[in-house]
């Protein structure tokens, strides 16, 4: 106890600089996870080299693979931002899944009353509705934290379950399209309202939306006074109050923006891929977003790169299943391994920092 008592944690003369470390660590973690994953597939009687070859091929080996990867990366970027933005304010919010499905539901139903309208306003309306509902959902976690002292990590996780339950309740009840027999869904949106495909890329326009939002997040956090203020709030609420920043508003605002990102991700999935809100939305994107953000060290541009990597891995899952008969969940195992390795690497880095400080 006395050893951890009161010394400032200052990296004094580290072996590597902090920025080198922040790149090296996730890379090392992924390598380590790959090694463990190789052992895992070897246990299944598969040649790890073949498996990795198929992952690369299935994720990045053809233009078709790239299209699949990119369209998976689009929501991953957004759910990654949903974790990274509140992280700047010192919040750990992990309930992206709930905001995503509710955003998707909002996107799916908001255009139903309007038949035969112009496509673009309808598409914007869907994204907006998704963002609003997602923002409200995360905003609740922010409000609970600031006004009731509820830990935002736990509340966001629990809210996520509630969100999913509400989603089921509505898609199987009030909002159900009676024609959707085996898979309860909302009424399909007008096909002309679906997000278009990006010319030349072959991927839906949701990709462009998420890239734009990632760049915007980068610019705002890095180059504006809002980003500065958010870092002050995240660094010390006491000091933020002293210099007159409205801490509650910043915290809740950051939560709302983050939830908006997750909600937009859901709306994109509906407006570009599913066409309705149904249980296909609930595939764990929200949780993958936690992995993406942590691996990217909460840096918006790095989130894009990591989302591509994870998207590619997820895209290759079906190839692994078809060629090698590996179960569908194999890729989830790999993802889980990466996550654990990142967390362990963080802990080790913390210790390293403490030793090099001396």
């Amino acid at each position: 106890m006395s050893s951890i008592s009161g010394i400032e944690s200052v990296p004094s003369k580290p072996l590597v600089t902090a920025s080198q470390l922040s790149v090296a660590l996730p890379v090392l973690a992924v390598l380590l996870a790959s090694a463990i994953f190789a052992a895992f597939v070897a246990l299944y009687g598969q040649n790890p080299a073949t498996v990795f070859g198929l992952i690369v091929q299935g994720g990045f080996g053809s233009s078709f693979a790239w299209q699949d990867t990119l369209s998976r990366a689009a929501p991953l970027v957004l759910v990654g931002l949903a974790v990274a933005i509140p992280a700047q304010a010192g919040l750990v919010i992990i309930g992206g899944e709930g905001a995503l499905v509710l955003g998707g539901l909002a996107g799916a139903v908001v255009t139903l009353p309007f038949a035969g309208a112009h496509a673009l306003p309808m598409q914007l309306l869907m994204l907006l509705a998704g963002g609003l509902i997602g923002g409200l959902w995360f905003g609740l976690a922010g409000v609970l934290r600031q006004f009731r002292g509820v830990n935002e990590t736990i509340s966001s996780l629990l809210l996520s379950y509630i969100g999913i339950a509400v989603f089921h309740h509505l898609t199987e009840g009030m909002l159900r399209d009676p024609a959707s027999l085996d898979k309860p869904s909302t009424h399909p949106i007008d096909p002309s309202y679906m997000l278009p495909t990006l010319p030349g890329v072959g991927v839906h326009a949701g990709l462009a939306v998420s890239l734009l939002l990632a760049i915007a997040a980068h610019v705002v956090l890095r180059y504006t006074r809002w980003g500065f203020a958010l870092r002050v709030v995240g660094g010390s609420a006491r000091v933020a109050r002293m210099i007159g920043l409205a801490v509650n508003r910043w915290i809740i605002g950051a939560s709302v923006v983050a939830g908006g990102m997750a909600g937009i991700a859901g709306a994109i999935e509906v407006a570009a891929v599913q066409g309705t809100a149904n249980s296909s939305l609930i595939v764990g994107y929200g949780y993958s977003g936690i992995l993406v953000a942590f691996l990217a060290r909460h840096q918006p541009l790095a989130i894009v790169a990591v989302a591509l990597l994870i998207g590619g891995m997820q895209a290759s899952a079906s190839l692994l299943q078809r060629r090698l008969g590996l179960p569908d969940a194999t890729m989830l195992v790999f993802q889980g391994l990466i996550f654990i390795c990142v967390l362990v690497a963080d802990a080790i880095a913390q210790q390293l920092r403490e030793t090099t400080r001396r």
Partner: protein
């Protein structure tokens, strides 16, 4: 175990290009108190952190009773019986003193036999010349009692060399005298040796046997305290003869306009109970009003409420407008502050020195146009302030915790006092500052006053207060119980009010 003689030999420590310790040797005789003096950033804390194994010196080693040791971690220091008491408290507030002590042991058994541990604890504390209540929650202790409990903890852990890094900053002068008196008598009776880091000459003189002066990381003077005059020590610290202390600018007549007006202020403490009770006061332009009081009588809560860090009821107006601590109000009305423990209360640790210097004006031209930050201008401003206030730092991009304690304070001074200050709330603004920086801080506060600012100065040091202020208010149990102008102030009367012996 008898008290060992500890010797540091040729210690050198670099932080990057910054030579924090330059070949320093130090001998702490068995059963003596050895004082370390030096300007802010001279390397005092670095030296003792090497001695407790938190830093590894680049060169040099430690000898205990003539045997050479290398300390790789605080555990090694613990094994040698070396322990440190910090400026801030390390006890867990929600546990009792006894629980804190028992769980502070380095090798805790999986199962704690509380009965036998408490018995052992009782034996340790019974022999002490002072009393600390063992079964009281730490959060209910006064600052002095907490610091005594920290010392008891060290003794309980069997420490023989006690390092005290500015242990009295958070104590009132009377508490400081008591705590250091105990350390000295424990040394006298051969219970321990001690290293005492302090900026206060009178403490060094009264409680230390030997003294070593550090300047820019080098040991420049060492000897028995009795052989060295204050002037000689001061000269060794700054490297040149001490010039006559700056004359404070002549006092100006307070203007008639009221800047700060508080009425019926009520603020709750951390425990949810009222800490400030129906307090009303006024401060005029060009006037310094001092608040005297024993710490823990609501001063902290008062300051935090004024700075917008704590909820309050009652009215507070600045220059006639109501003040709620928003950024616009702060800038328009010119309300700034020097809180105590500036690293915690006024700086964001994970942001750089340059960014911390910009906290007050990051959203204004030239640091920001529209919403776009101009980090070039931010760096320019930092460079200017660092030069102007002589902040010593490893670099503008250094994190705040790489600065020495006194330099953090200077950085905050630089940030707050270069604004257009019309109301300054200063809480123990010279804690941790060396005597040169103290004088400078006083001068700047007086300058602000003479420039027409209203100053509310909270201090537990009555001498400091009376030397500076125009009017004294005494705070006790959350209320103002006495008011007197500085000229007519009688220290004994004020002391009685502070102790709560006299009611208003």
């Amino acid at each position: 175990m008898s008290v060992p003689q500890v010797e540091l030999k040729n210690m050198t420590k670099r932080f990057g290009a910054n030579l924090a310790l330059n070949n320093v040797s130090l001998l702490i005789g068995s059963g003596t108190v050895h004082a370390l003096l030096g300007e802010n950033g001279a390397g005092k804390s670095t030296l003792v952190k090497c001695l407790v194994g938190f830093y590894h010196p680049d060169e040099g080693h430690i000898q205990v009773d003539g045997r050479e040791h290398r300390l790789n971690s605080p555990k090694d220091a613990d094994a040698l019986g070396i322990g440190m008491v910090y400026q801030h408290f390390t006890l867990v507030p929600s546990m009792t003193v006894a629980q804190n002590l028992v769980v502070s042991g380095a090798r805790l058994p999986a199962y704690i036999n509380w009965q036998s541990e408490l018995r052992r604890l009782g034996e340790v504390t019974r022999k002490l010349p002072f009393h600390v209540p063992l079964d009281v929650r730490v959060s209910q202790l006064s600052a002095g009692e907490k610091q005594k409990a920290e010392i008891v903890k060290q003794l309980y852990l069997g420490r023989k060399l006690l390092i005290l890094d500015e242990p009295t900053s958070v104590l009132t002068p009377a508490e400081a005298d008591e705590v250091l008196g105990h350390v000295r008598s424990l040394a006298r009776t051969g219970e321990l040796s001690a290293i005492l880091i302090s900026h206060k000459f009178h403490e060094v003189r009264r409680f230390a046997d030997d003294v070593t002066v550090l300047r820019r990381g080098a040991s420049v003077r060492t000897g028995a305290v009795a052989d060295l005059t204050d002037d000689a020590l001061a000269e060794a610290m700054i490297g040149e003869p001490v010039s006559k202390m700056v004359q404070h600018a002549p006092k100006s007549q307070p203007k008639s306009d009221i800047v700060l007006s508080i009425s019926d202020l009520r603020v709750n403490g951390d425990n949810g109970l009222p800490a400030v009770k129906d307090l009303s006061l006024e401060v005029r332009a060009g006037e310094i009003v001092g608040i005297a009081g024993v710490s823990g009588n609501g001063q902290l809560e008062l300051v935090e409420a004024l700075m917008g860090q704590r909820d309050r009821s009652g009215t507070m107006t600045v220059s006639g407008s109501s003040f709620n601590g928003t950024r616009q109000e702060i800038a328009r009305l010119g309300v700034y502050g020097l809180p105590q423990e500036p690293l915690k209360n006024a700086c964001v640790d994970r942001m750089s020195l340059a960014e911390n210097l910009a906290l007050r004006n990051f959203d204004r031209v030239p640091l920001c146009r529209g919403i776009a930050m101009n980090y070039g201008a931010l760096a320019d401003q930092a460079e200017r302030l660092v030069a102007q206030f002589r902040v010593k730092a490893p670099g503008l991009n250094a994190s705040m915790s790489a600065l020495s304690g006194g330099n953090v304070q200077r950085a905050v001074l630089a940030r707050e006092l270069t604004q257009d200050v019309r109301l300054l709330v200063a809480s123990n603004p010279t804690f941790g500052l060396d005597f040169v920086a103290c004088e400078e801080t006083y001068r700047r506060i007086l300058e602000a006053r003479n420039g027409g600012a209203a100053v509310l100065l909270i201090s537990e040091d009555l001498d400091e207060l009376l030397g500076l202020v125009d009017r004294v208010l005494v705070m006790s149990a959350g209320r103002i119980v006495h008011e007197v102008s500085a000229e007519g102030a009688d220290k004994r009367v004020i002391g009685k009010y502070m102790a709560g012996l006299k009611a208003a």
